[in-house]
């Protein structure tokens, strides 16, 4: 195992433990660590919203800019001051969340293969975010702005890009004119617009994007930032004076850390670090990684063009084209570069029902590494071998808790590429084929490696999404569990609880009529 892999695995283990710990108070859906991208986007909208107000009241003159922003904080503290503080703290939060998002995706190995595009388009956003943030601090034109502007100019001058040192623009108080602030405002609006455009590209190849976290997370985050804004309003440092070196300053370490780093080292070292880090991030996907799993395969004869796989694919890897054999019908087409090989499409296909009588079950879209036919074969063999008073079939996501240890005479375990690849009709098929109960294990809520597997599974079983589980299936005979990797104890406990429930005599009457496919009819 390479050093990088060891490092990544170690970091992912730490990240996972923290995430799981936060599942306790927050639950999966509201766990901010599981929705860092959406939380970042939300913070960006807070920044944009508060920034629009600041833009309307900002007076872009050398002295006026300082006093107009100061007026907000001192005279209009209850509204303008809060919005200014929100603007600043949401920006800091955005930087923090963006960094955590980057580390998390790296930890979990989500930067190569079908995620390559999102990773590559995400890296430049780091630069745009910091350019926006640093430029924003200059607009206030206080001593912190002076320090940042001068230090940035000196840093830029190390690169051979200007014929004259840009730091000459900040030599003396009369070096600065009102036009500088007009330009700054345009930069501080233009670069964030580029950032938003880049974010659009960043999520372009993902379907069902979480543009916002849950309402509860949004409200709680906003409330936390408003309380912070009231308790510790964002204020300006003393006004800039280029004839003096700034003294001791309140310093934003989230955005401006690069200046102390330059003072501590040198511009050469800082540029080397920045370019090396950027190059490293771009180069990460080039490191050796496991070969991609085979992509989903469409069988035109069995594809009805129903669009369900298109609707469910988490990575927009499926497109619909006119069916070559059936005029007026559509055919699913898989882009293998984007396919995550999760099998969610196979789970969504209406042709994936095991009740079809054909000996070889060929569905509309299938996974070569674990076909629906093979899954039915496995299930039928397992059902035939089950014995005991309460025979349970466990369908388990291979990326969730290790379920193979649960296998016993009365328990059959069938691993799945992702819980989302299980067509709900398999639950009914198992119950009518001899099982007394079916336990389906997904990853923890909101932690599906393929983003949507757990969500689609829950919605399909609840009848909220097609293909749905038929209502005739007794709910008491189905147990849904969300035990991620490492949660083997939770899964085992869920199985024991389920067995205890199956002991309930009241369930005896809730038996589905048996179905024997090979008898070609309902038994």
């Amino acid at each position: 195992m390479s050093l990088h892999t060891t490092l990544r695995k170690g970091a992912s283990s730490v990240f996972l433990r923290i995430e799981e710990a936060l599942d306790g108070p927050f639950g999966g859906a509201d766990n901010p660590l599981r929705h860092l991208g959406a939380l970042g986007l939300y913070l960006l909208w807070v920044i944009v919203g508060s920034g629009l107000y600041l833009y309307t009241v900002l007076d872009t003159g050398i002295d006026a800019v300082y006093s107009s922003i100061g007026y907000l904080s001192l005279e209009q503290w209850y509204f303008g001051g809060v919005l200014r503080s929100l603007h600043r703290y949401a920006s800091d939060g955005f930087m923090l969340v963006m960094t955590l998002h980057l580390i998390r995706e790296w930890c979990y190995g989500r930067y190569y293969g079908f995620r390559l595009y999102s990773w590559m388009t995400g890296v430049p956003l780091l630069w745009l975010a910091y350019i926006s943030g640093i430029g924003g601090y200059w607009i206030v034109w206080d001593q912190l702005a002076q320090l940042s502007a001068t230090a940035t100019a000196e840093l830029l001058d190390w690169l051979p890009i200007f014929s004259e040192p840009s730091a000459r623009n900040f030599l003396t108080p009369d070096s600065i004119s009102d036009r500088f602030f007009t330009m700054l405002v345009f930069i501080h609006i233009g670069v964030p617009l580029l950032l938003i455009l880049g974010l659009w590209a960043h999520v372009h190849r993902i379907s069902h994007v979480d543009y916002l976290p849950t309402r509860r997370v949004m409200l709680a985050t906003l409330l936390a930032l408003i309380v912070l804004s009231l308790l510790q309003p964002a204020l300006s440092n003393p006004p800039a004076n280029l004839a003096l070196i700034p003294g001791e300053l309140d310093f934003d370490w989230f955005i401006l850390f690069i200046h102390p780093l330059t003072d501590l080292t040198s511009p050469a070292i800082v540029w080397l670090l920045l370019f090396a880090l950027t190059a490293l991030l771009f180069a990460l996907p080039l490191l050796p990684h496991p070969a991609p799993e085979p992509a989903a395969v469409v069988d035109p004869a069995n594809c009805t063009g129903c669009d369900r796989c298109l609707a469910d694919c988490p990575y927009a890897a499926i497109a619909m084209q006119p069916h070559p054999l059936r005029p007026g019908f559509k055919l699913a087409v898989v882009d293998s570069d984007l396919c995550a090989a999760c099998g969610i499409c196979a789970g969504s296909c209406p042709s994936s029902t095991p009740f079809r009588r054909r000996e070889t079950l060929v569905t509309g879209i299938d996974m070569p590494q674990q076909s629906i036919h093979a899954l039915r074969e496995q299930l039928e063999q397992a059902l035939a071998g089950l014995a005991g008073p309460h025979r349970v079939v466990v369908f388990a996501c291979a990326r969730g808790a290790e379920a193979s240890t649960l296998a016993a005479a009365d328990t059959a375990v069938l691993p799945l590429l992702c819980a989302g690849m299980l067509p709900p009709s398999f639950v009914e098929y198992a119950l009518r084929g001899g099982a007394d109960g079916v336990l389906l294990n997904t990853c923890r809520a909101g932690s599906c490696d393929f983003r949507l597997g757990d969500r689609w599974t829950r919605e399909r079983l609840a009848g909220e999404r097609e293909p749905h589980l038929r209502r005739t299936v007794p709910a008491a005979r189905l147990q849904l569990c969300a035990a991620g990797a490492g949660d083997e104890g939770t899964l085992s406990a869920a199985l024991n609880d389920f067995r205890a429930r199956l002991d309930n005599e009241a369930l005896a009457g809730e038996q589905l009529p048996p179905y024997l496919r090979r008898a070609s009819n309902h038994a």
Partner: protein, 165 residues
């Protein structure tokens, strides 16, 4: 986790998030230079001289009337030699090269020198035509710098060459 405990946990964690942001948005305070330090910024942007040759009357006569410039000047500019001494000690000795592919642009320099506040003897010497020996611009002065004061060494031929401000 029971709901009341979960809610308390969420309040604590959101509070910690806000406190973390609130703290590092302003703290620890940053002090770029010590209290008893002043700054001398050396910033010069100047076109080096060209060594021009005066054309003879015969040469001018051979040229088309509209091109009879009395001086034949090369495109390239001279390097500029610059020396700065503080309290008799050299703190900078450099040669500035002209910018541009044809070395016909300005020669520039920007340096910061952090010095103790107080009185200092500052001497700056510059030669913008290295064909000639010595320094054609010299500025030497006793300066008095207050703590955190920024003093700029600049050059403007219209203001008599080197100047301090």
């Amino acid at each position: 986790m029971p709901k009341p405990v979960a809610i308390i946990g969420q309040v604590i964690l959101y509070g910690a998030f806000a406190a973390f942001i609130g703290y590092f948005a302003t703290s620890p305070k940053y002090h770029q230079v010590a209290d008893d330090v002043a700054l001398i910024k050396l910033s010069i942007s100047h076109l080096g001289e060209r060594e021009c040759r005066k054309r003879s009357p015969e040469e001018l006569a051979k040229m088309p009337p509209n091109m009879r410039a009395p001086l034949d000047c090369p495109r390239e500019r001279s390097d500029i030699r610059l020396e700065v001494d503080l309290d008799g000690q050299p703190i900078l000795q450099t040669v500035m090269h002209p910018t541009g592919l044809y070395k016909d642009g300005v020669s520039t320099i920007y340096r910061r020198f952090e010095v103790k506040a107080g009185s200092h003897q500052l001497a700056v010497r510059m030669n913008d035509n290295l064909v000639k020996p010595g320094f054609n611009f010299v500025k030497e002065e006793r300066i008095s710098l207050k703590p955190h004061q920024v003093m700029v060494i600049d050059f403007n031929p219209d203001q008599g060459g080197l100047f301090f401000r």
